[in-house]
């Protein structure tokens, strides 16, 4: 993307956002979108570590069929904690709140997001929710599973359900505020010449994500309030003993939580489009269709929630309609995979770390997407629903997809964030370890599920042991893959080689400004004259 600099005289250099203040106060009260992004990064790294530790304990427990490491009570609290923290306090804020906050204004040539104070408030709401959720864990935990199904959660569970639900409720407002901020920012603050059809695809995917955040999250809030009313005051809404309907909860919950699945994958697709274009050094194949497919996923994603309820005793015909719509929502995802493959054709490809993560994403997301087709097929879903097949499927999307993309995006924009380069080969090896560890952890779970092992089982029949041992072995490899970046990225932040403004030779406004980005992003407002990914015949920007 070329741009015209309005003034030929070099103005005095602005300090980088990292140099703009060194006190704790300058961080905790910052209105700078980049610093807020870093605050989010620190927070979600902590939540990820807690949730991953819960997963590690579960995998150790599942080494043997008997329940010999922790009690059933504890095991149930571990998987609830893992699910709640991973979904609401890591995956949902991961790419949007960390990379989105940091990169969106830089990508559109703006000084900040539209509402910087609201942006800071979002982080505080997120932290308040996170602290409440952590309190409920420390106080004794919650054993409902992250899905909070009624009437178990509203009447029968004796855990700290209300504190956990309140944490999720408050964090939801953080999501809504962030989504609103991004929508307005992308509408109103684009640099001159940056028309909608010139937007980098990451922005299209973040725009689609933001729409879901704003429209779906209020339904989660309503659902949790209704559950609280039943639990605290015995108002009969979901428990049939009080005159309620337990399936109503599932409808409301999945009306939020299925679109939320797309909150957890669309941003990753955006990152992959950016990195593939940058390291194949050519435009993404079928730009308009790829952009449109993000919007199609956001819209269709609202109409498929019933596929979580094929065996719940909802109407048979509702099941058939939800199945059809679920097949249709897979079409835009397939379009993206084919377009990414075609993007490589006639490129000038190099294999830096972000590219390895992006290629890993394509492979794992494809497996996750195809097994989603199995689950959309009614007759097959009846058999594999609520078994390890489902666990494997959504981890291929959430972890194989979103976490790989988050790691890829983090490595891609790391020079812009830190101003430094990490050790390339160490990072490549970590990416490879993650890919191998991931597959060894989760592929055996497809087989386990097909053989009939139910999810959320503290103990299991002996014939499932071999596959569980394989899965636990994979998890220990995966842990190494996730721990390594903490060390080499941390090291590079202080001691890495200086990156310069554009270490990858990529297009995009974020690469036109200094690294780390200056406090107000650009010396002068950039003007855009070409579409995204305008590489020349030799692959140069």
């Amino acid at each position: 993307m070329s741009l015209l600099v309005e003034s030929s005289k070099a103005p005095p250099r602005m300090p980088s956002y990292l140099e703009a203040g060194h006190t704790v106060r300058s961080w905790l009260f910052t209105l700078d979108h980049k610093r807020i992004g870093i605050l989010y990064m620190a927070a979600i790294t902590v939540f990820f570590s807690i949730a991953a530790s819960a997963a590690a304990l579960m995998r150790i427990e599942l080494l043997t069929p008997a329940g010999d490491v922790v009690t059933s009570e504890t095991y149930n609290r571990l998987f609830t904690m893992h699910g709640v923290l991973m979904v609401w306090f890591f995956l949902i804020p991961s790419i949007p709140s960390v990379l989105g906050n940091f990169i969106i204004p830089l990508m559109i040539g703006a000084r900040d997001v539209a509402f910087p104070r609201l942006n800071l408030l979002s982080w505080y709401l997120f932290m308040a929710g996170g602290i409440l959720a952590t309190y409920s864990i420390v106080a004794g935990g919650v054993d409902t599973g992250w899905t909070f199904y009624t009437p178990y959660s509203s009447t029968y569970s004796n855990g700290h359900v209300m504190a956990m639900a309140a944490g999720v409720f408050i964090a939801g407002f953080s999501s809504i505020a962030t989504g609103l901020n991004f929508i307005v920012t992308i509408h109103k603050l684009r640099a001159p010449g940056l028309t909608w059809t010139r937007l980098p695809l990451f922005l299209w995917s973040m725009y689609a994500t933001s729409i879901i955040l704003v429209l779906a999250t209020p339904v989660l809030a309503i659902t949790l309030v209704l559950m609280a009313m039943e639990r605290l005051w015995g108002v009969g809404i979901f428990d049939p003993k009080l005159g309620g309907d337990p399936l109503l909860f599932q409808h409301l919950f999945w009306f939020y939580s299925h679109p939320a699945v797309y909150i957890m994958i669309l941003p990753g697709m955006g990152v992959v489009s950016e990195t593939l274009a940058a390291f194949a050094r050519k435009p993404v194949f079928g730009y308009r269709v790829v952009a449109a497919s993000s919007m199609a996923i956001a819209i269709l994603g609202f109409l498929v929630w019933g596929h979580h309820m094929f065996v719940s005793s909802q109407s048979v015909y509702a099941g058939v309609v939800f199945s059809l719509l679920s097949f249709l929502v897979a079409v835009p995802s397939a379009i993206k995979v084919f377009s990414w493959t075609a993007t490589l054709y006639r490129g000038h490809i190099t294999f830096e770390t972000p590219m390895l993560y992006a290629l890993g994403f394509i492979g794992l997301f494809t497996v996750g997407g195809l097994t989603g087709i199995f689950l959309a097929s009614l007759a097959v879903d009846v058999h594999v629903h609520d078994t390890y097949f489902v666990i494997a499927h959504f981890h291929y999307i959430m972890v194989g997809g979103m976490v790989m993309a988050y790691m890829g995006g983090l490595h891609y924009w790391w020079p812009k964030i830190s101003g430094r380069l990490y050790h390339e080969w160490t990072a490549r090896i970590a990416a490879l370890i993650t890919f191998i560890g991931f597959n060894l952890t989760f592929f055996p779970q497809f087989v386990l599920g097909y053989l009939g092992m139910p999810r959320r089982y503290h103990m299991y029949p002996e014939q499932f042991q071999t596959l569980n041992v394989l899965s636990t072995a994979g998890a220990s490899i995966l842990a190494v893959g996730y721990a390594l970046p903490l060390f080499y990225l941390g090291w590079s932040f202080f001691f890495g080689r200086r990156a310069g403004p554009n270490p990858w030779g990529a297009t995009g406004l974020e690469w036109k400004t200094a690294s780390p980005a200056p406090e107000h992003n650009f010396e002068t407002t950039p003007v855009v004259t070409t579409g995204a990914y305008a590489y020349d015949a030799e692959g140069n920007p």
Partner: protein, 323 residues
């Protein structure tokens, strides 16, 4: 359970629907494998051929991209629709309970399966069924949501409190098969497991009569008094309530001029939701027994009402041993 290890992966299951589910499953595996193979091959080819600095020819594309886009949008949509119809076709057959199916009551409760056969024989966490017979389970729950999962039969259905849901299967192989609860239901969820024993019809008939068979209708009569149903419904009574003789199996006239068939579902609704269908000529004065009468008592009460002389006594329960 009787087919451990990897052999189970290719087993064709033990119910009439299992081979149909498996055919769909393995077709999906095959189609997915083809897609993955093509994508891996293309990606590897491009990655190697177009690595930076390679001599391969580049330059702009000679054909417009929309032709490719239209092709793969079209192909995936057609492929997906095909699998949709296939999956829905098998599912509709799984959901349509055969009219003459042999009915067994299954109540889920933290953390056990409470099973009652038509003659009153009761068992826990073990379900005996006759081979080759369409078996219909009437699933309900006493507390939270449970899910009845018989992997070898490829059958799963949630047991939801407050309602009765049917699920059916036709066992095709004698043997002992695992039964799991697959809807998280609290602390001992992973121990809410059991066995399904498929027996020859003769063996099943013998099994049915050899064990203790509490007279559930008699117990139902006691409950009928205990819950004070008899105060209004037994004749003569001070209160104007519909008599219950000849009700089961009849068409009951309602207040709004319509008729309803008095099957199990009607009896259950009349106890739990008495104002839902008010009998013509009566006032909606009966209190709801929702949350008052347990699922287990409810089944006994219904059994008692069914034991009264009925309009449909000419058509008794189908005999269990008949194929």
């Amino acid at each position: 359970m009787n087919r451990p290890g990897i052999a189970a992966f290719f087993s064709s299951g033990a119910s009439s629907v299992a081979p149909r589910v498996d055919a769909l499953f393995w077709s999906l595996v095959l189609a997915s494998a083809v897609v993955v193979a093509v994508l891996v091959l293309l990606n590897l080819t491009f990655l190697i051929r177009y690595r930076r600095g390679s001599p391969a020819r580049r330059g702009p594309l000679e054909v417009s991209t929309w032709k490719f886009e239209a092709t793969w949008i079209g192909l995936t949509t057609v492929g997906f629709l095909g699998f949709f119809f296939w999956g829905a076709r098998v599912y509709l057959d799984m959901e349509r309970v055969p009219a003459d199916a042999y009915s067994i009551n299954v109540v889920g409760r933290q953390w056990m399966w409470d099973i009652r056969h038509p003659n009153g024989r009761r068992e826990f966490d073990e379900l005996h069924v006759p081979l080759g017979r369409d078996v219909r389970l009437l699933l309900s729950s006493e507390d939270v949501i449970h899910s009845f999962f018989a992997p070898e039969f490829r059958v799963k259905q949630d047991a939801v409190p407050g309602k009765t849901v049917s699920v059916w299967f036709k066992p095709t192989r004698e043997g002992v098969y695992p039964l799991y609860c697959t809807q998280y239901c609290g602390t001992k969820h992973s121990q809410m497991t059991g066995r399904i024993v498929v027996m020859s019809p003769d063996a099943y008939a013998a099994w049915l009569t050899c064990g203790p068979t509490p007279r559930i209708a008699e117990r139902g009569r006691e409950l009928f008094t205990k819950y004070s149903c008899s105060g209004c419904h037994d004749q003569p009574s001070q209160i104007h309530a519909p008599p219950l003789l000849n009700v089961y199996g009849s068409m009951v006239p309602l207040q709004d001029g319509t008729f309803v068939y008095a099957g199990d579902e009607y009896l259950r609704d009349s106890i739990l939701l008495p104002t839902k269908q008010v009998v013509a000529g009566y006032q909606p004065i009966m209190p709801s027994f929702q949350g008052v009468v347990s699922e287990s008592d409810l089944l006994d009460l219904i059994a008692y009402l069914k034991s009264l002389p009925t309009a449909a006594s000419a058509a008794p329960q189908p005999s269990p041993a008949a194929p």
